[in-house]
């Protein structure tokens, strides 16, 4: 089984997770830029974070045989802080880079005017940089947030197949299905969706434009929820090909629209170093010892 996790925050995860993910079949992933739990207070924090997503984290993933890509954006929570909004001026430099496969996560948190302004601006940036968009739907007032999201996407001029609307559930899936956007589901241990409800949605709505992710981060979450959903699909009668479609071909098809996915096989080299620092602490490989 091969798995592409289209939404996971590896910066918050351990090397044990990388090993377990590889063993479960994860060979590629996308790490969306989001907030860090602790609010940022300056643009510099964003830039260092973006540099980490494009640099150290990509290198770390490669050492475990996993291809790492990222999405870059000002997230909706921090779009409300005037100290953070200026990062929008820096985004074009990052959106031009290899390994950036979408603008995201953008969208709504508390449905404020500031969030809507940043969201709209970043939909425009996606058009300018020819990138797809990953949209976060809010935890609170989700149905209204999803409806407003779809209105903004429609008026942005972006075609719906360039947009993935994430964190959906039974109450929001239908509107997104009708819109033509891709449908993302985050499978969590005890909130949002679980793998059995996910299988029920797949049975009802079919596999077209359906995307499943673990969205694992620094909160209570499980980086193997993609593999567990695959198992639940097989247990309820879906075929191996169905699983491959939902957990590999669909997310690849969505992010491939960026033209920047790198999915050739990785030969994990545990002795490699990034900017001179290895994940093998203190045992610096020089090739001369």
């Amino acid at each position: 089984m091969r798995i592409f996790d289209p939404h996971i925050h590896m910066t918050s995860r351990t090397t044990d997770d990388y090993e377990a993910m590889y063993a479960a079949g994860v060979r590629a992933l996308v790490e969306p830029a989001f907030w860090l739990g602790q609010p940022r207070t300056s643009i510099g924090s964003f830039c260092d974070y973006f540099d980490g997503l494009l640099g150290w984290e990509r290198f770390r993933a490669a050492q475990f045989g996993i291809r790492h890509h990222c999405t870059i954006a000002l997230n909706p929570k921090e779009a409300n802080d005037p100290r953070c909004v200026e990062v929008l001026d820096i985004l074009p430099r990052y959106l031009a880079k290899d390994g950036v496969v979408a603008v995201g996560e953008v969208g709504f948190d508390s449905m404020t005017a500031e969030e809507e302004k940043a969201f709209t601006q970043q939909l425009d940036l996606a058009g300018e940089h020819d990138l797809p968009v990953l949209v976060h739907t809010p935890h609170r007032d989700k149905a209204a947030g999803t409806r407003r999201t779809l209105e903004l996407v429609r008026s942005s001029g972006l075609s719906p197949e360039r947009v993935l609307v994430d964190h959906l559930n039974e109450l929001t899936v239908e509107a997104v299905a009708e819109s033509g956007c891709w449908m993302g589901f985050s499978i969590y241990p005890d909130t949002k969706m679980d793998e059995h409800r996910m299988v029920a949605i797949l049975s009802e709505y079919g596999l077209d434009r359906m995307i499943v992710n673990s969205a694992a981060d620094w909160g209570r979450s499980d980086p193997l929820k993609t593999a567990k959903t695959a198992r639940a699909m097989l247990d309820s009668g879906f075929t191996d090909d169905d699983v491959d479609r939902v957990l590999w071909r669909n997310p690849v098809a969505f992010y491939e629209q960026s033209g920047r996915l790198l999915l050739d096989d990785i030969d994990a080299e545990p002795a490699a170093t990034f900017e001179g620092n290895s994940v093998l602490r203190g045992q610096r490989p020089t090739g001369q010892e």
């Binding site: 031009a96 880079k97 290899d98 033209g259």
Partner: protein, 225 residues
């Protein structure tokens, strides 16, 4: 313009050149586009080593380095009446660059204009603070050789031995190597030997060419004592 591009891209094939030409024209129309064209070069023009024995581009520019240097040469030409603006943009490209982009900026400093000033020296200093062999090597090109202080340049060369950058990557090594550097290299070799570790073979490139003694100290140390 084509002659300028050709000069900096000896290893690009005709297809890659024509893709680079598109970027050069885009840049000529609007020089501020450098901020988004420069990062996209590997994807849009070419990617890979120019020498199969030098995959990381330590001794020789990689294909994307050549194309990026050509773009910066184009920018320098477009802004030839505004050198401060060019220096400022170089600093921004370096700050927001990933390691590949930073390396290309450092290579451009050495490649474009041997007479340019010291305004970009902070970029070289930054690169020498990393342990990234790709950046350390590029920092010790002709620009670094020309502008780094004796102390900073010697520390850079010593770091090369330390992190495994071949001294063949250091520009003007024979001209700048002095007795103080040789003494530092000798001390480093003694330390390695005392710890039962191997001595980098490149150390002899300095030790065998420069007369030195254990008393050779940097200038500021001598003035303190």
């Amino acid at each position: 313009m084509s002659a300028l591009v050709d000069h900096f891209t000896p290893h690009l094939d005709a297809d890659a050149r024509s893709r680079l030409d598109e970027l050069v024209h885009e840049l000529a129309d609007d020089p501020s586009r450098i901020s988004v064209l420069f990062p996209a070069v590997a994807r849009r023009v070419a990617r890979g080593p120019s020498d199969a024995d030098d995959a990381d581009g330590i001794r020789h520019p990689r294909l994307e380095d050549e194309a990026r240097v050509a773009l910066l040469a184009t920018l320098a030409d477009a802004w030839r009446d505004r050198p401060e603006q060019f220096d400022r943009e170089l600093a921004e490209l370096y700050r927001y660059g990933d390691a590949d982009e930073k390396r290309a900026v450092l290579r451009a400093l050495s490649a474009i204009d041997p007479d340019q000033g010291r305004a970009s020296l902070p970029l070289v200093d930054d690169a020498l603070r990393t342990n990234d062999v790709r950046l350390v090597a590029a920092a010790l090109g002709t620009y670094g050789a020309r502008h780094l202080s004796a102390e900073a340049w010697r520390q850079g060369v010593l770091k090369c031995l330390f992190v495994g950058v071949p001294l063949a990557a250091v520009a003007n090594l024979d001209e700048r190597a002095d007795a103080v550097l040789a003494r530092m290299v000798a001390d480093y070799c003694r330390e390695r030997t005392a710890a039962g570790r191997s001595v980098p073979t490149d150390a002899s490139r300095v030790l065998e060419r420069v007369p030195w003694s254990p008393d050779d100290r940097p200038e500021q140390e001598r003035s303190r004592s």
